[in-house]
Every structure is written in C-alpha cells, then in structure tokens.
C-alpha cells in the first residue's frame, strides 16, 4: 500500500495518475448529483468509495467511462479527457481500456461463458480467435471457472456470473478496473468468491476503483477510502484512519450506523 | 388523382348504405352492423369457451381447446366455406350470405375473444379468487361477481382491438357476395372500369380512418386503465404510439 496524503485534492497529473477528477459537477435537472469532485486514483492504487444510498457513488464511478456525462469539470483517464467531446470511435477506444464490472453482471445470455470473454477482444481489439480463446481460458482459470467454459450464463450462480464478468473485463487488458457494487446483488454466501478474485487483482498491482458496502474488504485491501454523501467527497483517508478515527461527522455517523448491526 | 373526389361525390351513398332501398342495406352500414352484431353475439360464446378452457373437467376443456386451435390454424375463408355449406344443412333451409357471414364471425371472433377473456382472467392476481372463495362464494359466484367483472374491464382495450379486427374480417364477405363496403367498392369499379386505383384507394382509406381511430381509442383506454390500476406513472411502453396493445394476449395480437 502506498503512503498517501490525507486530502482529496488532486496532485499535479503526474506520470502515476490513472484517474483524475478536476472540479467535476453533474446535475439531473435541479438535483445536483455530483458537486465539486476533486480526487485522484494513482496507478496501482485501490480506492474504495463508500457512503449512504443516494450519495452519488455509482454516478461518480460511471462518469469515469462516460456511462454518465458531467456538466462541468475535467476527467482524465490515463491522461485522456474522457468527458470532452470526441468522435464515437475515439470514445469506444478509450472505453475498451477501462474495465467495468456491473452490479447486475450484464453477461450476454445468448453466448457461452467462453464466447462472452472472447467476443470483445476479437471484435473491438481485433485479436485473432485462437489467441482470444487461449487468453479466455487462462482468465477462466484465474477466476476459478475453467470447467464452465461451455456453460451459458443462465446456468451459473450469481457469484459465478460475476466472476465471469470480471474475466470478461480483464480480457481487454485494461490498465484500470472499475467495480460498481460488484457484490450487492449476490447472496451472502457467494460474496466471498468474488471478493477473493478482486483481492487477487489488487495484490497483482491492478489500479482499482470500487464502490462497495463490503467494509472488511475495504479495510483489508483498499489503499484509500473515499467517503461520499450528497454528491460530495467528504473525507478521504487510508483505511486505518478512516475506520478508527473518522474526521467528518457524517462519516462518523455512517460508520456508527454500520456497527450498530 | 382528382378523380378521387369525383368518385366520392358520385358514389358516397352507395359506399355508405349500398343499394338500399332498392336492395339490401349494404356498404359501410352493413359492415358496421355485421361487425357490431358479430362481436356482440361472439361475446357470450367467448366467455363460455374461456370458462370451459379454464375448467378442471377435461370433457369441457378439451373440446374448447381443440375448437380454438382449429380456428387459429384454418383460414377464415375456409371457415366461411364450411359454414356456408353446413349451416343450411343443420337448419334445413337456405341462409343468406349476410347471415352466413354473421355466424362465421360469431364463431371465429368468439374463439379469438375467448383467448382475450382467458388471458384477462388468468392475469388477475390469485388473491382475488382466493379471497372470494374464503368468503364462501362458490366457483360460479366467484366468477360472476369478482373475477369476470375485473377481467373484462381490464381487457376492454383488447376487446376493442378485436372489434377492429372484426371490421377488417367482414371484407371476406365479399367472396360470398355479402353486400358490405368492399362489395360496394367493387361494384363501383366494375361500373367505372377506368379508375381502379382511385376506387380502391378510397376503399383502403375508408377502412384506415375507421380502424385507426378505433385503435387510438383502444390505446387511450389502455393507458387510462393502466393509470387506474397502478396509480403510478404510466410505463413507457404504454405511452408509445404504435406498440401493439400490451394487454393483448400473443395469440390474439397476431389475429390473422
């Protein structure tokens, strides 16, 4: 884990900045979903974004690959401003370099597990079928599902589907992975298998940004925690500091509510 | 294409009421009467068929199911020929084309309407029937006072759609010389001979105006009923303009 400054302010976009939010604002009509977001995810860092429902965590992570637009501000992914106007071909190319894992998996039900993983490298990156197949096989092994290569998503459990979804995203060899509440739709007994895959990724040095409610995971794997409420990042800290000595009153309330269970 | 206005001006009466009074009532009036009578008489038949298909007695369920499948699998024209042939034999005297068509429509639309009624009954939450039975109502009482009123109200838009389909089916009466709108148009064409496109364009547009208006009415009804039932915002699908009615069961939505 890298030692980090206990502020949410952006450092100058240096060589090691992967995701950089500068003065990001977003409104849905009159409602402000994101307010003055300034934050940075450095290369190799694992950032966990937490907070109460409606705090804007999902909206925030979805702006990174432009599944959501922003009203103002600059969002740099690996040096490219992804929210700037650009041709769709350029946007698609950028997106292919950002791994995204959805809460509802969104596997393609008409394709087998192997085809799900192979499709995008072949069609978007132009990888040859044999290479794509080999890579898919290796990724399936990595997430522990080699024996399910020929199965269809409907035949898998939620935890298995999510692991396939992670493999599908990894197949594009992205420099960073985004997780939008990856375990929230899973039955409790399947949460562990997905988290352990994510833990493995973190150990290998993958840059990760996760929106999650899994506080143990955050405590053990995250380099930094961003606490959000009402569209703002109210506190950023390393896990030790955040969980033991939260500064912001709302963060304190959030954590005490959690412990009350 | 200015011939269209002239043709309309000269023949509007024929198109509207056929050769009445020097012949039977025809034209659009006949189409309307045929459709209204057809769907009205088909209604009780459809309720009986639907109940038969939903009943637990195989003796009732199987014949009803077979009848519906036959109607779905055989062209309307074929059924018209059957009725034209069998009905006089059954009754013992000749039947006019109009009455033949009427009986065919009652049978044909009755079968399709029974699918609508069946879907309406089945789509009600089970709790309705359970509550009614728990209060002591018998099967028939439950049907009469609790299930059918709700089911039929919910299926009003679908029934309206089926009425539109009935209007369109009346055109087949032309083949057995029933004097309805299509027959009238063909009469005009056989007289004029030089403007077939204009004549049939008028015919097509007449049906279009009527059927389109009724279909829009059905959609409006569907939105209103959905709003009443759900009370919340209308789902996007129902707000669409050209979607087939969502409440229409698939076998009926594809009514030939």
């Amino acid at each position: 884990m890298n030692p980090t400054a206990n502020t949410g302010g952006p450092s100058a976009p240096g060589q090691d900045s992967m995701i950089l939010f500068s003065n990001i604002n977003k409104w849905y009509g009159d409602y402000q979903a994101l307010a003055d977001i300034n934050a940075e995810v450095r290369k190799g860092e694992v950032v966990v974004v937490c907070g109460p429902s409606g705090s804007g965590k999902s909206t925030l992570i979805r702006t990174v690959n432009r599944l959501e637009d922003v009203k103002s501000g600059q969002l740099l992914f690996d040096g490219h401003d992804i929210q700037a106007p650009m041709r769709s071909a350029a946007l698609n190319k950028l997106r292919s370099r950002i791994g995204f894992v959805f809460q509802s998996f969104n596997l393609f039900p008409h394709l087998s597990v192997l085809d799900n993983i192979m499709l995008s490298p072949m069609r978007v990156l132009g990888v040859k079928r044999a290479d794509a197949k080999a890579k898919a096989g290796r990724l399936l092994e990595r997430v522990g599902l080699s024996n399910k290569a020929g199965a269809f998503p409907a035949q898998l459990s939620g935890g298995q589907q999510q692991r396939v979804a992670i493999a599908r995203a990894l197949a594009m060899e992205p420099p960073a992975m985004l997780f939008d509440e990856p375990t929230s739709a899973l039955d409790p007994e399947m949460v562990g298998e997905v988290l352990s895959v994510m833990r493995g990724l973190a150990d290998e040095g993958m840059t990760m940004m996760c929106v999650t409610h899994e506080m143990n995971f955050a405590r053990e794997v995250a380099d930094r925690i961003w606490f959000m409420d009402a569209g703002r990042i109210l506190e950023t800290a390393d896990p030790q500091t955040f969980f033991n000595r939260p500064q912001h009153p709302r963060a304190q309330r959030f954590l005490s509510d959690l412990r009350a269970h | 294409m200015f011939g269209i206005l002239d043709i309309l001006r000269d023949n509007w009466l024929l198109l509207l009421i056929g050769q009445y009074p020097s012949g039977p009532l025809g034209g659009f009036a006949a189409t309307l009467i045929l459709s209204v009578l057809g769907i009205t008489l088909a209604f009780p038949l459809s309720v009986l068929l639907a109940l038969a298909r939903l009943s637990h007695w195989k003796a009732l369920q199987w014949p009803a199911t077979v009848l519906v499948y036959i109607v779905r699998g055989v062209p309307l024209l074929m059924i018209i020929l059957w009725v034209y042939f069998l009905l006089p034999l059954a009754i013992g005297r000749e039947i006019s084309g109009f009455n033949t068509m009427l009986c065919t429509l009652v049978l044909y639309e009755g079968a399709y309407l029974s699918e609508v009624v069946r879907a309406g009954i089945v789509s009600l939450p089970q709790g309705q029937a359970e509550a009614a039975r728990a209060l002591g109502n018998g099967w028939l009482g439950t049907m009469r006072h609790v299930i059918l009123p709700q089911a039929l109200y919910n299926m009003l838009p679908s029934m309206l759609s089926l009425f539109v389909a009935t209007i369109m089916d009346t055109t087949l009466g032309y083949v057995i010389n029933v004097q309805e709108l299509t027959f009238a148009a063909n009469q005009i064409n056989n007289q004029l001979l030089t403007k077939p496109f204009q004549v049939f364009f008028i015919l097509a547009m007449s049906y279009y105006v009527v059927c389109f208006s009724l279909t829009q009415l059905a959609r409006w009804l569907e939105r209103r009923i959905a709003r009443k039932r759900r009370g919340a915002a209308v789902p996007a699908a129902l707000a669409g303009q050209l979607e087939p009615l969502d409440s229409l069961p698939p076998s009926v939505a594809t009514h030939a």
Binding site: F108, H110, L119, R123 | V74, M78, L81, W82
Partner: protein, 233 residues
C-alpha cells in the same frame, strides 16, 4: 346425403392434380411472401435504428397503414389498382408471368413486413438496458453492439410473436383466391363445384391447413427451445 367418401375425391386424377397444384401455389405464396416480409422487416428495423425522425415517422406510417387496412383490400389495391398504374411494358410482362400470384406475394409480404418489424422492435425493447451498457463499457461501436449483442437477443425474444405472425401469413395465402389464384382454397371450391362433395373436399383442405399451421407452430417451439434465452440478469 351420400356417405362420407373421401376416395371419391382422392382417386380421381383430375382432382388430385387440382389439389397438388393448389397446395403448391399455397406454399409458393406463403414462402415467397414470408421471405419478402422478413427482408422488408429487417430493412424497416435498420431504418428505424438510424434515429432519423423523418425515417421514424415514415416507418410508423407504413406500419400503421398495413395494420389498419384489411389484407383483402390491400390485395385488391395492388392487383386492381396499382397494377393499372404500372407502365404497359411491366403490365404485359406480369400478365405473362402469373401476375395474380406475384402480386399476391408482394401484397401479403409487404403487409406482414409491418407486423414482423413490430415484433422485432418489441423484441429489441425487451432486451435489458444493462446489455447495451455492458457493450458500451467494453468499447463496442453502436453497430458492433447491435450486431453481436443486441439484435441476436432481440430476434430470440421475438420468436414467439414471429411464429404467430408466420401462421397468419400462411393463412392469408387463401385470400389470393379472391383475385383468381388457384391456391388450395380455390382448388377445393372447384372440386366441390364439380363433385358436389363439399364435406370431403373441405375436410382435405382443412386438414392440410391445420397440418401446416401446427407444423409452423411446432417448428417455432423447437427454435424457441434451442435458442432459449433466460432473461439477462
């Protein structure tokens, strides 16, 4: 009334020929119009997907017309109306080449195309929005996403409705009788005229229609089973 004597019909050479000819024509019209309907429906879908508002309204008008005008009237408009507007050369060529059957295929095909395109459109709307999001997130282009991810699911969703409409299309082939095509219904009407055996003649036709309709429905069920797409979660 004479007893039910199927063989009186089936053994007569002339009647067999009429029946076979009728069946052949019915199948030709059904298959021809189905192919035309599918092709036009896909075209309409593509036009709709461009998002151009004028295109959208044009397609909507096409669908609205074909769904609110009776099929028989559409057939008449084509055969009596539009045919007369065609240049003489084309009229002559058509008359030599079975104009009735060809125009039937055109009329029935274009009519059912409206229904097929609506079925596909509903099928597309039934694909969960998460699928398009996942496709975008992975970097697929709009057309790539359509081709590999969205349209395959849309078609699978549309299969039941498409099958029902295919049965309708098949039944509509009988309408061609009204413009003189000697298809199956016309054939048995002729046989009845000549043999006075309505019961037998009609039974044969009814059996054949039922057979093919049920065959289509069974084929549809088989396709639906093979392509069973449990809803994407």
């Amino acid at each position: 009334m004479k007893g039910f004597d199927l063989l009186a019909i089936l053994l007569k050479q002339e009647f067999i020929e009429m029946l076979l000819h009728g069946i052949a024509l019915t199948l030709q019209i059904a298959v021809g119009s189905w192919l035309l309907a599918m092709a036009v429906a896909l075209l309409l879908l593509v036009i709709r997907l461009t998002g151009n508002p004028v295109a959208e309204r044009a397609v909507a008008a096409y669908v609205s017309y074909h769904r609110n005008v009776p099929t028989l009237v559409q057939l008449m408009l084509w055969y009596f109306g539009i045919f007369s507007l065609l240049p003489d050369v084309l009229q002559a060529w058509l008359s030599d080449h079975n104009a009735e059957a060809l125009l039937s295929i055109v009329a029935l095909g274009l009519c059912q195309a409206a229904f097929f395109s609506e079925d596909m459109r509903s099928g597309l709307r039934a694909v969960p929005p998460g699928q398009a999001e996942a496709a975008r997130a992975l970097g697929h282009s709009y057309f790539g996403a359509m081709r590999h991810i969205l349209l395959p699911q849309a078609i699978r969703n549309a299969v039941p409705a498409l099958v029902n409409h295919t049965v309708s299309l098949f039944k509509n082939s009988s309408l061609a009788m009204a413009i003189g095509v000697a298809e199956l219904t016309h054939a048995v009407k002729e046989i009845e005229n000549q043999s006075f055996r309505a019961f037998e003649a009609y039974s044969v036709a009814t059996f054949l229609y039922l057979f093919f309709s049920l065959l289509i429905m069974a084929a549809g069920a088989w396709v639906a089973r093979r392509w069973r797409v449990t809803a994407a979660r």
